[in-house]
């Protein structure tokens, strides 16, 4: 695998990770939630009370990122790619990262908790 193909495939995996992370939170996708008081996992959409989404969310987005990266690799493996393509991917990564981080900042800023 040459440098540009590896970079493009990896960029697609990262984009997949961020898209899935954003979608899981923004759209309340069902995933495993850890209930720390009961020491068990439950499959649920929105938060089922005192629960932790982090583990289930990682479990959800990691295969998505692998699928994006794998699909990206299949697409680019026989193509001639130049540095421009890597710049383009880096640009899209920067845009999506700003968008997703901005979304979380916006959603969490001043969030009222039930306590």
């Amino acid at each position: 695998m040459n440098d540009t193909r590896a970079a493009v495939a990896w960029a697609l995996a990262v984009l997949g990770f961020w898209v899935a992370w954003f979608a899981a939170t923004a759209f309340g996708l069902p995933m495993f939630w850890y209930l720390p008081l009961e020491h068990r996992f439950v499959w649920a959409g929105p938060s089922p009370g005192l629960a932790i989404c982090l583990y289930g969310q990682l479990l959800l987005v990691s295969p998505t990122a692998a699928a994006f990266g794998g699909a990206g690799w299949l697409v680019v493996r026989r193509r001639e790619l130049g540095r421009t393509h890597v710049w383009l991917c880096a640009g899209w990564c920067a845009v999506l990262l700003c968008f997703v981080a901005g979304y979380f900042a916006f959603a969490l800023w001043g969030r009222v908790l039930s306590g």
Partner: protein, 148 residues
């Protein structure tokens, strides 16, 4: 879930890993800036890029291990009711570091790639550095409000 007694030593290890990560990402960005100014340090750049992922993974894993205890005994019992801004800051930090995870792994695997991969690795390095700085400061602030 970890025992409550283990939470404090794990938090110290988490902080140490975060400090080391802050140092490595800062050095990596400095080496990148030197290259942009025409003074490349190939080996140093590769070494720092490779070290970021294990440190990031270690700090992240320690954070994951402490989190259930923090969620129940600190956040739920105190922060959510008394200092909700700290809970929100913590959640933002947590999401931000999760977003950094694929970039840290990417730096590891793309470290030995040449010029072709540079735009992406440069972005990863700078973005990770910014995230780590933000998270380190946030972590200090949150712990100063209430630690485990």
């Amino acid at each position: 879930m970890i025992l409550a007694q283990a939470a404090r030593p794990l938090l110290v290890l988490h902080a140490l890993a975060a400090m080391a990560l802050l140092g490595v990402t800062t050095h990596l960005v400095v080496v990148k800036v030197l290259r942009w100014r025409g003074r490349p340090r190939e080996r140093l750049e590769q070494t720092y890029s490779r070290v970021v992922a294990p440190l990031f993974g270690g700090a992240f894993a320690l954070g994951l291990a402490i989190y259930p205890h923090f969620r129940v005994d600190v956040r739920s019992r105190y922060l959510d009711a008394q200092q909700p801004w700290a809970s929100n800051l913590f959640d933002f930090k947590e999401h931000l570091m999760a977003l950094g995870l694929p970039m840290a792994i990417g730096l590891f695997f793309l470290a030995r790639r040449g010029e072709g991969a540079r735009p992406l690795t440069d972005l990863f390095a700078v973005a990770l550095w910014a995230m780590v700085v933000w998270s380190a400061v946030s972590g200090l602030v949150i712990t100063s409000v209430r630690g485990v």
